[in-house]
């Protein structure tokens, strides 16, 4: 807490300059890849160590559009799952995308907006609508936040989820208007109940027919409204514009980005966030410049950030798989993620996932360990196309100690204590006869450790 309070906002958001205490090494590069994506294998990390931090961050942010080839494969996969109409299958298709995408930051930010503009398939019950929303989030993930809000306010899945599929002038539906200000753009305390009622009137006539958005001009209230001190015969677009114009909007999103990329706790001060909010407003609510500033900053590589976030289930599972170049049954992963609290397309409520400490309790911790065990035991799980022991042998990792060091570098944000290493050696020793079993049990033991839950 004191670290954050004592941090100078100007220094915090200046470009990271490595020094003896905070060197640009494998650990700091791994931290960057874990936060800007889900993790990287050692070869990628070593390549990045040879470049300047700003250059690596610039490349990550610039790489914000999928290649045509990858997009076509991943989209075709999603389309194929849509044929069955089951959103749970769609979840597996997203896991596949997370595992294979060359644009990790884009996918990570898409996941951020999925939690921000939370929409659950359990209620929407239409895989196609969920998929269309997912594509919308991806399209604007690192782009124009204002445009994303305008689009999401007309998104069928969102409106079905918020019971706003029918919004008549006689009975304006307040749900979307309230969430637009409270959860999507401004946060509590930055609007009044009267603003909610007036904003709801702006959205009257907006409805979903045949799974498509349409404006029913007969049901739109075309009278004057007063929204956030502005007066006029506003419609939904005007209402959204007015909300986005509020000074609280850039600060609210800057806080969200900070929590997602830097740390959950402690809560940053307004002063700390103001430089980011200013940059967000100056860049016309473009997301990429703010993300680039955060990822390349002193604050991001400081002790206030490293290992100060609890990995979400997606970060833990996809991170483990990507860091070890592993592939597996994505349906198993998707189902497992749902069981441990982060089902893709299945956020718990309109607030999305709480994140932070809420990820962890005795049940979810056990669930995480069990899911990793299931993945490691699944016959589809391969590491760079091989068994784990073969894959490690190819990297000259043969002994238990070498494997512990390898997993530590790839997967952990903090170093293992000697006691923890001794315990891991004991775990490995109980499987001395079978190398593959030894390595898998070691990997399971490491990924189940409390410190592996820190990212």
């Amino acid at each position: 807490m004191s670290e954050m309070k004592s941090m100078d906002p100007t220094w915090a958001w200046q470009p990271f300059e490595p020094n003896a205490d905070l060197p640009w090494d494998r650990a700091s590069v791994a931290h960057l890849y874990r936060r800007a994506g889900f993790g990287a294998d050692l070869a990628t990390i070593d390549d990045a160590v040879g470049l300047a931090p700003a250059e690596v961050v610039r490349e990550l942010v610039a790489n914000n559009q999928e290649s045509t080839e990858f997009r076509s494969t991943a989209d075709a996969l999603a389309e194929a799952t849509l044929a069955g109409g089951d959103p749970a299958q769609l979840s597996a298709a997203w896991v596949y995308r997370l595992l294979y995408t060359p644009n990790q930051l884009l996918e990570k930010t898409t996941l951020l907006w999925h939690g921000h503009f939370a929409t659950g398939a359990e209620k929407v019950q239409d895989a196609r609508m969920m998929w269309n929303q997912n594509q919308l989030l991806r399209k604007h993930a690192l782009g124009d936040f204002g445009e994303l809000v305008h689009q999401i306010s007309q998104d069928p899945a969102m409106l079905v989820y918020l019971d706003s599929a029918i919004n008549r002038k006689a009975h304006p539906n307040e749900n979307f208007a309230r969430e637009l200000m409270e959860l999507f753009c401004l946060g509590e305390g930055n609007y009044s109940e009267a603003d909610v009622l007036e904003l709801a009137r702006c959205f009257t006539g907006w409805e979903i027919k045949n799974k498509k958005f349409r404006k029913n001009r007969y049901q739109h209230d075309s009278e004057a409204k007063t929204v956030l001190q502005q007066n006029g015969p506003f419609d939904g677009e005007d209402g959204t514009r007015i909300v986005l114009e509020q000074p609280a909007a850039p600060r609210f999103i800057a806080r969200k980005l900070y929590r997602f990329f830097v740390s959950d706790e402690p809560i940053p001060t307004d002063a700390m966030l103001q430089p980011l909010a200013d940059l967000f407003r100056e860049s016309d609510l473009q997301v990429a410049p703010v993300v680039q500033r955060i990822l390349g900053s002193n604050a991001f590589f400081s002790s206030a950030s490293v290992a100060r976030k609890i990995k979400s289930p997606v970060e833990l599972m996809i991170g483990m798989l990507r860091s070890l170049k592993a592939t597996t049954n994505t349906q198993l992963v998707a189902k497992g993620l749902l069981n441990i609290g982060q089902g893709l397309f299945y956020p718990p409520n309109v607030k999305g996932w709480d994140g932070g400490r809420a990820w962890i309790n005795s049940s979810t911790l056990l669930g995480r360990a069990n899911l990793i065990a299931d993945i490691l035991e699944n016959e589809a799980t391969r590491f760079d196309g091989k068994s784990l022991s073969e894959c490690l042998r190819d990297q000259d990792v043969r002994t238990t100690d070498q494997a512990i060091e390898h997993f530590e570098l790839c997967l952990l944000a903090v170093r293992l204590s000697d006691d923890a290493k001794a315990q891991l050696r004991e775990t490995a020793a109980s499987h001395s006869g079978n190398e593959e079993r030894r390595m898998r049990s070691l990997l399971h033991a490491i990924t189940s450790l409390p410190i592996c839950q820190l990212g």
């Binding site: 075709a76 389309e79 069955g84 298709a93 596949y96 294979y100 045949n210 799974k211 994505t330 799980t381």
Partner: protein, 598 residues
């Protein structure tokens, strides 16, 4: 790194050759005694409850490896991929080591090693398993033993041996021991069973399987059926298993599962009474066939006459023929009798479930008793058929293309039953439309058609305005539920097209002779291949999701699967029942050289 496999190979070869020639000279352990020329069943104890005898393993391997389709297989691009994967390299290395140890080509070596038969047996006494290999070449058998021991040594296993009446038993697995007795090689996981076999080999005075009355009867029945390509014959002592309380669920009088009772009720009844089951496998250039047979008596059938027929044994109607047929299943089951006698056939739980269904169905059928009035209006001949659907020029096209299927019954009184079932079908479609509308599903449009004297009531899904030309439509667009009436036939079909085919007089009567079987079935592999091919993109997607494969890897795997499927012609199933025997036969036919496309 690249030198390692070669070095390993040379070391392996050296060790194997040395051990097989030097460490274990021929006939070190025993002289040729009395058991040399006997049959395996004369060595196995009388407590054996299951055994399988492979008469010509070398011949089977030769048939498979020299099959004309092998050239086609090797011409497949996927085969090149398999070669490039390196897996065959390890296999080749193993075979070369084996050949070096045996001193002859591996196929010839296996042929000689097993030329007097291989027998696998399960002992009831303590669940022990024994494998007896009988060879005409005792020296080669000793080399084989040396090869196995050398392999164990290479794997770092500690050599453990024991002696019993002059024979050396080597530990070759966690519990498995190996003993060579002149031209016999015995492998077993149970010491007592092994000792009993050795005792019998030396003394020839014990109670053996050959003397077991049940086995003798089974052997006689097997011998009576002279099969040309029989390579495996098997025996299972069902009575001993029943008496021992094994697999109690199989031998229970009643089961929970209604569908299970319909499919297998008669077979399970027979297993509750029959003393034994024999089995056999035939392998030839044209395919593989597996058959099981068991004694049957008519007085065992009660209370399952619905399955067997009464007073005469029932015969399945012929299989239905339709163009692009995928499968056909024909059987005799008196469903009305089954439903009414469910209290005698199903457990209390099963009966309760059926009672709930009965109440709902009686309501659905306007108060008519479902078992007596509805099922009772149909006779026991049931014909099920599936066919590939043709979506050419059809819009919208479903993304997943399923086969169509139809179920045909004969009505006892068509005049009375037809209007009743037509009305019920219309109500059913209305019900589907109401529930579908509540769930945002497409609606069904009712229609009527007449083909000759046949009458069809169809229900077709209506696409949304913007989905009318979709090539990626929902799975529902595979279906257009239809009920058709043609003479005394009533057809419940998943699509109007298959109903039209079946109501067409010409194709409705062009049927395959069903013979005297109680149940017959067939599956056409070529049609299955075409259906899977039309869903290739879905299969690839599923493979990518299930196995985490890249697109290229998934395409390769699915391509290989479809190409391999192209080697098969069909699968046939027959359940035949006579007053003295019940037999179940399954045959898989492969295409001839000319038919299969590489």
């Amino acid at each position: 790194m690249t030198q390692r496999p070669k070095l390993f190979f040379h070391a392996l070869m050296g060790l194997l050759v040395m051990t097989s020639y030097v460490s274990f000279p021929d006939d070190l352990f025993a002289e040729a005694p009395r058991g040399v020329d006997c049959a395996a069943t004369e060595l196995l104890p009388g407590s054996i409850v299951a055994c399988a005898e492979v008469s010509d393993l070398g011949g089977v391997l030769e048939t498979v490896l020299n099959h004309p389709l092998r050239a086609k297989l090797e011409a497949m691009p996927a085969y090149d991929g398999f070669l490039a994967s390196g897996a065959p390299g390890q296999l080749q290395m193993g075979l070369r080591a084996f050949e070096a140890s045996m001193g002859k080509p591996w196929l010839e070596a296996i042929g000689t090693l097993t030329d007097r038969g291989v027998t696998v047996a399960l002992d009831a006494a303590d669940g022990g398993v024994a494998i007896l290999v009988h060879s005409s070449d005792a020296e080669l058998l000793e080399r084989f033993r040396g090869f196995i021991l050398a392999l164990r040594q290479m794997q770092g296993a500690t050599a453990k041996q024991g002696d019993y009446r002059g024979f050396m038993a080597d530990l070759v697995g966690d519990k498995v021991k190996m003993v060579r007795m002149h031209d016999w090689l015995l492998l077993t996981n149970n010491s007592e069973l092994g000792k009993a076999i050795i005792d019998q080999y030396l003394d020839r005075d014990g109670d053996t399987l050959a003397k077991n009355e049940v086995y003798a009867a089974a052997a006689e029945a097997t011998a009576a059926n002279a099969a040309v390509h029989r390579v495996v014959s098997a025996f299972l002592d069902i009575k001993a298993l029943r008496d021992a309380g094994v697999a109690k669920n199989v031998f229970k009088d009643k089961i929970d599962n209604f569908a299970g009772e319909v499919a297998l009720g008669g077979v399970l009844t027979n297993l509750r009474h029959t003393p034994y089951v024999t089995g056999e496998m035939q392998v030839s250039d044209t395919g593989v066939a597996i058959g099981f047979a068991a004694p049957h008596q008519r007085n065992w059938e009660s209370p399952r006459e619905y399955f067997f027929g009464e007073p005469e044994l029932a015969v399945a109607p012929p299989q239905l023929e339709v163009p692009n047929r995928l499968f056909a299943l024909s059987t005799h089951r008196d469903l009305s009798q089954l439903w009414l006698r469910s209290g005698d056939l199903l457990t209390d739980r099963g009966v309760d479930q059926l009672a709930v269904a009965d109440t709902a169905l009686t309501t659905f059928f306007s108060g008519r008793d479902f078992a007596e009035d509805i099922l009772g209006s149909l006779d026991g001949d049931i014909q099920l058929v599936g066919m590939e659907q043709d979506f050419t020029d059809v819009l919208p096209q479903p993304a997943i293309k399923l086969p169509a299927f139809a179920l045909q019954f004969r009505m006892k009184d068509a005049t009375a039953t037809k209007p009743e079932l037509r009305r019920v079908f219309q109500s059913f479609v209305g019900f589907l439309n109401v529930t579908g509308a509540m769930n945002g599903q497409p609606q069904l449009d009712l229609g009527m058609e007449t083909i000759g004297e046949a009458e069809l009531v169809t229900a077709t899904y209506v696409p949304d305005r913007d989905q009318r030309e979709s090539l990626n439509a929902k799975i529902q667009f595979n279906f257009s539920p239809t009920v058709a009436f043609a003479g005394d036939r009533i057809i419940f079909a998943s699509s109007a097209a298959i109903a039209r085919e079946l109501t067409d007089t010409a194709s409705g009567k062009a049927k395959t002779d069903g013979g005297d079987s109680n149940t017959t079935g067939s599956l056409q592999a070529t049609t299955l291949q075409r259906i899977l091919e039309s869903n290739r993109s879905q299969l690839i997607a599923n493979n990518m999701l299930e196995k985490g494969h890249s697109k290229e890897a998934a395409e390769g795997e699915i391509g290989l699967l479809l190409e391999l499927l192209g080697f098969f012609r069909d699968v046939r199933l027959n359940l035949d029942i006579t007053s003295s025997q019940m037999s179940l036969d399954l045959a898989v036919d492969v295409k001839s050289d000319g038919e299969a496309q590489p």
